[in-house]
Symmetry: C2
Subunit: 148 residues, 2 copies
DNA sequence: ATTGTTATTGAGACTCAGTATCAATAACAA
DNA sequence: TTGTTATTGATACTGAGTCTCAATAACAAT
């Protein structure tokens, strides 16, 4: 039997542990995030919810995103001139991003070697790394071909 | 004879080439940026200028920062909840950052090996990397010791 | 189930970084 | 010196995100 709301129990426990409550709104927001493809921004999420008749105010969306972030179920990938971009991290292991400057596509990649190298650089500097963000900007395969 | 306004000629040419003008305000802003220690944010820059009697409106500061960015003399390091952080790139070779979550200190580092590795990852993915940003968040040496 | 406590909600006011507007001014080429 | 027009500064505006607060709904205890 599949879990239809991945992360929901985790979020529920997180809330209960600190005397907070699981509400319809929070459940719906969580559901929408995990139904989606990965990356999302608060405003789109809000509009999407309006569209499907499931309701939660803009304020609740923002509040819930903050809670989910605290809880570790989502991460802020990037902050643009037009707001934040998040991604769900439940069931996804860490990865970094390549962002195509032409078409806006986001590629995810992971390199064990890269992780190890970063770790060893931190050690050399006496720095205790906790997390990192690497974004490589450039042209994806398709857009490179088009340019020729 | 030392160049008292590094990057000024470069910026001047950049402007002239596109029919734009070097003004007192722009010169002063550029000067203040290069007088500073490296990282800065628009609001602090504006306040700093007010303090020294050199004047330029907030609007001009923002406009000039956009131009300097286009021109490549400064880079946007990071966008926080409280605005952008820039750094001057004139005479600085590329580097990445470690950000201490405790004291807010920013360490710069550079690793040839890291650069090469990223390049080879891009090639594997058929991606043409143009630039990148790597931020490692954690605890600096001092703050680690304090915690013990 | 019912009740009491109190966290949460939603509407809208608010904050704050950054941009647009526009009349007055100042760069720059001729 | 003069004419053209990019730039300036004051201020209005925009848009993301937060705060406020009265009404509501979770949840624990009965």
């Amino acid at each position: 039997m599949k879990d239809k709301s991945p992360g929901k129990n985790l979020f529920g426990s997180f809330l209960r542990d600190r005397g907070r409550r699981m509400t319809k709104e929070r459940a719906v927001i969580l559901q929408k995030i995990f139904d989606g493809s990965g990356h999302f921004d608060p405003e789109s999420l809000y509009v999407l919810m309006r569209g499907t008749g499931l309701k939660a105010s803009r304020a609740s969306v923002y509040r819930t995103l903050n809670l989910l972030h605290e809880c570790g179920l989502i991460e802020r990938v990037r902050k643009t001139d037009r707001g934040s971009v998040y991604e769900s991290t439940f069931g996804h292991k860490h990865h970094d991003h390549m962002l195509c400057l032409q078409c806006g596509k986001v590629l995810e990649f992971y390199s064990e070697e890269l992780e190890r190298l970063q770790e060893s650089i931190c050690i050399k500097q006496g720095f205790q790394g906790k997390s990192h963000t690497l974004e490589i900007r450039g042209l994806c395969r398709k857009c490179r071909k088009k340019k020729k």
